[in-house]
């Protein structure tokens, strides 16, 4: 353990965790902060993004560390992190996860990809990138992704004491789940040991990315309809919810489908796409065409509801959803 490796002009080392609600980033942030404040003699402040975000929605956790003597006054979100921990690689599709990083920042990603591939994925010009297959480790060790991520985060933060963290785990699982302690420790250790780093030189030492506050909307007082009324409802169909999936996805085999609509009855996300055509007897009938994976959160209720083997759950491979998605046909009012 040593002092803080980097601080901003107010004396803070700042961390931002980017995750999906339900992955345990909030708890990981809390444990990380407590390990710093309670276990490593630092002062700090920590909080999670607030709102009505549900499980499966993008969330952030913010942590600031400083020396005990530093006054903590800043309660705003971490905008220029020294470290970003990205719990879910796919987040980069819809969230500007690397917002505000500088040349000295470290970006840690839960991914099986190499740092060089991640650099392209994150559209970074250079800088330090760390990768850890936290999901793979968690599956193998039958533990949680956040524990493996914590291991990697501790490796990146040499000023934190990994033993203090493991003690917290031991204590919190303690009497109730003693059998889980070993697997949690192993998951943490593997995260700590297996994280890989790579430094990419940044040409002309410029900013890695343009920075702008994330809280500006394209609708303002001149073009927002009065009263907060939504005059173009239905726009949620534009959203991509695929990042809510946590590994599994329903797979559809039309051959065994009896078109009973059992899946459609229980799907919370209106993912099933139907078409009307004539059946073998020449009667007009409704047939299931497929799944619009843009909205599928991977809950797999449909697989439970399916009376045949038409729907099954499979581990989602990269590119699967794009390849097999059957898009909804919305009745658009305007051409885009």
């Amino acid at each position: 353990m040593g002092g803080l490796p980097l601080v901003n002009k107010l004396g803070f080392y700042e961390i931002r965790l980017e995750a999906i609600g339900g992955m345990g980033a909030n708890l990981a942030g809390k444990m990380l902060a407590e390990a710093g404040v309670n276990g490593s003699g630092l002062n700090g402040v920590s909080f999670s993004s607030y709102g009505s975000e549900k499980k499966g929605s993008p969330v952030k956790a913010h942590i600031r560390f400083c020396e005990l003597t530093t006054q903590i006054r800043d309660t705003s979100s971490v905008e220029h992190p020294h470290m970003v921990g990205i719990f879910h690689e796919a987040l980069a599709k819809t969230v500007h996860v690397t917002s505000g990083i500088g040349p000295d920042s470290i970006v840690l990603v839960n991914s099986t990809k190499a740092p060089s591939q991640l650099m392209a994925l994150l559209d970074m010009q250079g800088g330090k990138i760390a990768a850890i297959d936290a999901t793979g480790i968690a599956l193998k060790e039958k533990n949680r992704v956040n524990m493996a991520m914590l291991g990697a985060l501790f490796k990146i933060c040499p000023f934190l004491d990994p033993q203090a963290m493991k003690d917290i785990v031991t204590k919190s699982l303690g009497a109730k789940y003693p059998q889980a302690i070993e697997s949690a420790h192993r998951t943490f250790d593997r995260g700590y040991e297996e994280v890989v780093f790579e430094q990419f030189t940044l040409e002309d030492n410029g900013p890695l990315l343009d920075f702008k506050h994330s809280n500006i909307s394209s609708l303002g007082y001149e073009n927002q309809p009065i009263g907060g009324m939504i005059t173009n409802p239905g726009g949620n169909y534009l959203k991509d919810l695929s990042i809510s999936r946590s590994g599994m996805i329903p797979s559809y085999d039309p051959e065994s489908c009896i078109n009973c609509a059992g899946c459609d009855n229980v799907c919370p996300d209106m993912c099933f796409v139907w078409e009307e055509r004539t059946d073998r007897k020449g009667r007009s009938q409704i047939f299931l065409q497929g799944i619009d994976y843009q909205y599928c959160k991977g809950c797999l209720k449909c697989v439970q509801a399916c009376p045949t083997s038409a729907l099954s759950s499979i581990k989602e491979k990269e590119g699967y959803a794009d390849k097999y998605s059957v898009k909804h046909r919305f009745d658009l009012a305007a051409q885009f």
Binding site: K55, N236, L238, V266
Partner: protein, 793 residues
């Protein structure tokens, strides 16, 4: 909030996490830092809400009546958690809405003990009428206002617009800039409230999320005995209360002129005295703890020429800006009150004596008042005390959770610097941080409205059996009904596996033609209308949490009245709308009164409840529909309690007792049954009057079950007879699916063992609770069967 999911997950995990630390929180041994305290202190690392709860726990209030609302909900949750582990014995009373929570607190305070509450925003507004009564009848209590925007469109984030409503209630108001202040002020607040010279309820105001949800190192009293020594073991004696038969009193008489103005004068006097009493208490507290709270928090104001006035969390951020400006040689300072009722008029005038210009940031507008409440009170202070030279700039900032960054602070100082230089204020009042938007991004309609002929399919046949008076419904196979378009678009943000929208869409399949919906506040509303998007293809309304039934009855009657007057003829309506109010079980708690009112008026509309057995939108607090023994974030499982203490509310029977034409229950596990009932609901709401229906709706997250388990969980709830499928049509009860007759009945434990929130009920030590729950389920089921068998019941 983190209202929601994360916080509920975190809480659940925290239950184990904190508990194992052997107490509410883990203390840090930084004793060397705690220099000037006379009594032993400790450090903890906790949030503002946790500190409010911790102070309440140490004081061990007698009663807390509460109702969940973000961001203050956690205060009650933390107190439930620590009560579950036996760390205090405050009587926590989950009310049916803030109006009731304020009523509970009022009643409790008449009875002489110590009373505590916490609320925010709309919750505060709902209890507002109780506030001047609490102060006017001079009954002390302490309430935390965890500040949040008052709004419609709904904003759950922080600003001071709720706080500004408190200014005229007669409550002294203490301000908290950080979690440390939340703790300290909560302890001082009680002493201030109970001071014989004051005898007023006291509000402790902190910033929602910025303070309530941010963890910081906080010093606390190590021993609660020292807290009690400071506030007094008991409230000061000698004040009458309602529990002394030898000295009966009448509280709250009918008082008109000439007496009333004198009552108000007494209150006014007490309020101004509270300023001096606070100073005395704060000094005593400072001497004890080393933490001093002067009336005004002045930062580098001694020789300041320009200043910024802000309150609470932003007033800390500005201090960094002051330091930066001072480093550049600018004589900057900041000023922030620790108490705003009474308003420290003289102290502020004094502090600004030599200041050339000051920017006052109000985190809440007094629309039309040429400034927020604080700037106008500050100007009055200057005027009253003869300062006609300090230039004052007013800016409204940080509304609805908009963050305040140091760069914003620099802007505020820049305004003051310019005014100081020029001797005048270019723009005395303005908003700051608003923006015009991008002109090419003006909203345009994305989707065409649903085609009427797609909705009015004729697939559902319905006619009235003249003999029985009951409806006959024919519903085609579910496959055919897929043809009917869904009423909502995909893309809403509900959790994976959520049962709400599958249930709603199934219900909507049974309705032919156009629907106008009103959603109560709750998960379904929040996840489907995140601005600027919405999932609602048809017309949709949201109003206040509890007021949906009243609101929709207004829409319904306006429809019929405008139709009668021929004013809708031009709109080409092909049929009458079906009006559907959608609510969670929470909305049916706080909105029970309006729902019963609408039912008794028998408007032609449907009230559809998705019951997921808790206030899931705010982080899984108990609702009255939560069954006995079930774990929620306000009915924890631990040493002193095993989940919720009372049985689930039988809302269908309550609504049936209003003698409306149709009441039903349904689940997505029985789709045909639900669609049939929807069809009947449609007919009755078109032709006869009000319909109420309850859909049991799985919440995998907070039921602590697998995401894919929802359908089968609600199916098992039906088969265990916990949730019988039935209808009450024109007063006649019919069980529409009888698991006993179909030999499908399962033990209640088959349902309970599959959810993390109930698994503890299967432990031998909880046998009595399980038995009580089983008996109640069986009793209600038996009674239903008898009603089914006897049409006259």
């Amino acid at each position: 909030m983190q209202t929601s999911i994360q916080s509920s997950i975190a809480l659940i995990l925290l239950r184990n996490f904190n508990k194992k630390k052997g107490g509410f929180m883990m203390a840090i041994d930084y004793s060397k830092e705690i220099g000037s305290a006379k009594v032993e202190q400790q450090y903890v690392y906790e949030s503002g809400n946790e500190m409010a709860a911790y102070a309440a726990q140490q004081i061990n209030y007698h009663v807390m009546g509460y109702f969940p609302i973000s961001p203050s909900t956690e205060v009650a949750q933390f107190l439930d958690l620590t009560k579950t582990t036996g760390q205090h014995d405050i009587k926590l009373i989950p009310s049916d809405g803030e109006h009731s929570s304020a009523g509970i607190c009022y009643g409790a305070s008449t009875a002489g003990g110590r009373v505590f509450n916490a609320t925010s925003a709309q919750g505060y507004m709902y209890m507002l009428e109780q506030m001047p009564v609490q102060s006017g009848t001079r009954l002390p209590m302490v309430m935390n206002l965890v500040c949040r925007s008052i709004s419609g469109p709904l904003n759950i984030h922080g600003d001071h617009s709720d706080l500004y409503f408190a200014l005229n209630t007669g409550w002294p108001i203490l301000m908290c800039r950080d979690p440390q202040a939340v703790y300290d002020m909560n302890i001082m607040a009680l002493k201030l409230a109970e001071d014989p010279e004051v005898r007023l309820p006291v509000m402790v105001a902190s910033d929602g999320y910025f303070t309530s949800h941010q963890k910081r190192r906080v010093q606390t009293f190590m021993h609660r005995e020292d807290v009690m020594k400071f506030v007094g073991e008991q409230p000061p004696a000698g004040f009458p209360h309602t529990l002394d038969r030898e000295q009966p009193i009448s509280i709250g008489p009918y008082m008109n002129e000439p007496d009333y103005i004198n009552n108000r004068y007494q209150m006014s006097e007490a309020m101004y005295k509270a300023g001096a009493v606070f100073e005395r208490i704060a000094k005593e507290y400072g001497d004890l703890t080393g933490r001093y709270y002067p009336t005004l928090d002045l930062y580098r104001m001694e020789d300041a020429e320009v200043a910024v006035f802000l309150m609470n969390s932003a007033s800390e951020i500005i201090k960094d800006v002051v330091d930066q400006l001072r480093a550049e040689g600018i004589k900057a300072g900041s000023i922030s009150p620790n108490i705003i009722r009474p308003f420290p008029q003289k102290q502020i005038a004094n502090a600004l004596k030599n200041v050339k210009a000051i920017t006052v940031g109000d985190r809440g507008d007094s629309t039309g008042g040429h400034g927020g409440n604080m700037v106008n009170e500050l100007k009055a202070a200057l005027f009253t005390h003869g300062n006609h030279t300090t230039q004052v700039i007013s800016r409204i900032y940080g509304l609805g959770g908009k963050e305040f960054y140091a760069e914003d602070g620099h802007h505020f100082f820049q305004l003051a610097i310019e005014a100081a230089k020029s001797g005048e204020v270019a723009v005395p009042f303005d908003f700051y941080g608003h923006h015009p938007g991008e002109s090419d991004k003006t909203p345009i309609r994305l989707l065409k409205p649903l085609k009427f002929e797609d909705l009015k399919t004729g697939l559902i046949e319905i006619d009235k059996d003249e003999l029985t008076g009951k409806l006959r419904v024919k519903v085609p196979p579910m496959r055919s009904l897929v043809k009917k378009p869904k009423r909502l678009t995909p893309g809403h943000g509900a959790c994976p596996g959520c049962g709400i929208f599958s249930g709603l869409e199934l219900f909507f399949k049974g309705i032919e033609g156009d629907i106008v919906t009103l959603f109560h506040t709750g998960c379904a509303y929040v996840v489907s209308t995140g601005y600027p998007h919405s999932s609602h293809k048809g017309t949709f309304i949201h109003n206040l949490f509890q007021n949906g039934a009243a609101t929709l009855s207004g829409v319904v009657e306006m429809f019929w009245e405008r139709k009668r007057r021929g004013e809708l003829d031009d709109l080409g309506l092909k049929d009458d709308f079906t009006f559907v109010m959608v609510t969670g079980d929470g909305g049916m708690d706080i909105g029970m009164g309006p729902a019963i009112g609408a039912a008794l008026r028998n408007h032609r509309m449907i009230i559809l409840e998705y019951d997921n057995e808790g206030y899931m939108n705010t982080g899984a607090q108990l609702s009255y529909s939560t069954p006995k023994g079930h774990r929620t974030s306000t009915s924890g499982v631990g040493k002193t309690q095993q989940g919720k203490g009372s049985h689930h509310k039988d809302t269908p029977q309550i609504m049936a007792a209003t003698n409306i034409p149709y009441v039903f229950t349904g689940t997505e596990a029985h789709p045909q049954d639900l669609v049939k009932k929807a069809a009947k609901a449609w007919w009755y709401a078109q032709n006869e009057g009000l319909v109420y229906g309850k859909i049991l709706s799985a919440c995998p997250l907070n039921w602590m079950a697998e995401d894919n388990a929802g359908t089968s969980l609600v199916g098992t709830a039906v088969d265990s007879c916990f949730f019988p499928l039935y209808e009450v049509e024109l007063g006649i009860t019919t069980i529409t699916y009888d698991p006993e007759a179909k030999s499908q009945k399962v033990e209640l434990t088959e349902w309970l063992k599959r959810m993390g929130k109930t698994r503890h009920l299967l432990k031998p030590e909880n046998e009595a609770i399980l038995k009580s729950f089983q008996d109640e389920v069986e009793r209600r089921w038996s009674r239903l069967k008898i009603k089914h068998a006897h049409p006259e019941l």
